[in-house]
Symmetry: C2
């Protein structure tokens, strides 16, 4: 079992893709997943009915728009967006972001029919 | 509700304490906690019966000793230690580490009576 236990170098994983708003899975634990994605431009307003989401900026920066304020996240900064809270990430420059959320979480939340919806995520 | 949603600057939180092997909680989501701790020196061999643990190095580096190998983790590198797997973190220099794990996780796992066991963790 321990054979498969190894580290993940995030920079190396980010180097394996270049598209935006398309999360990859880099770890799984306790029914949760560790995902990474590149953000660029505005995403869509959405919320998650049953899942809280954690975001940590690894490189670059982005703004998390909430209905009543905007939180700017830079490298080494993180936040939790609780379930039910409408949010919209906006990146004026490319941002590399690590996310931690339940395996059931779909990136566009309540907007499952969006052209940006991603399911069956790639594992890096 | 959204009033309490804000970012966490990890460097600022790490600046608020100086002791080692004493995790602080910096976020909670989906029954899981985001914790940060400073590692220095060898910790104890232990395992967690029911919890997988995620470690991400923010600063410094440490070795995760497993029974059959040693994994060295540097900034931007992370790993999951699955439940049941014996492990022992060892930091020859101070490391600042972010962890994701279930709220039920006790730092010393099966060694609940260790002098290093920490419960009722501080929230930063």
């Amino acid at each position: 079992m321990e054979k498969n236990i190894d580290k993940v170098n995030l920079a190396e994983k980010f180097g394996q893709f270049s598209d935006h708003w398309n999360p990859r899975i880099v770890g799984e634990l306790n029914g949760q997943q560790v995902k990474i994605a590149k953000f660029l431009g505005p995403f869509e307003w959405h919320h998650h009915e049953h899942e809280d989401e954690f975001f940590l900026v690894i490189k670059g920066e982005f703004e998390m728009h909430l209905r009543d304020k905007v939180v700017t996240l830079k490298p080494g900064e993180c936040m939790v967006v609780p379930r039910g809270v409408e949010h919209r990430p906006v990146a004026s420059q490319e941002a590399e972001v690590l996310m931690f959320e339940p395996a059931s979480t779909v990136n566009t939340g309540n907007l499952q029919g969006s052209e940006r919806t991603r399911k069956d995520l790639e594992r890096l």
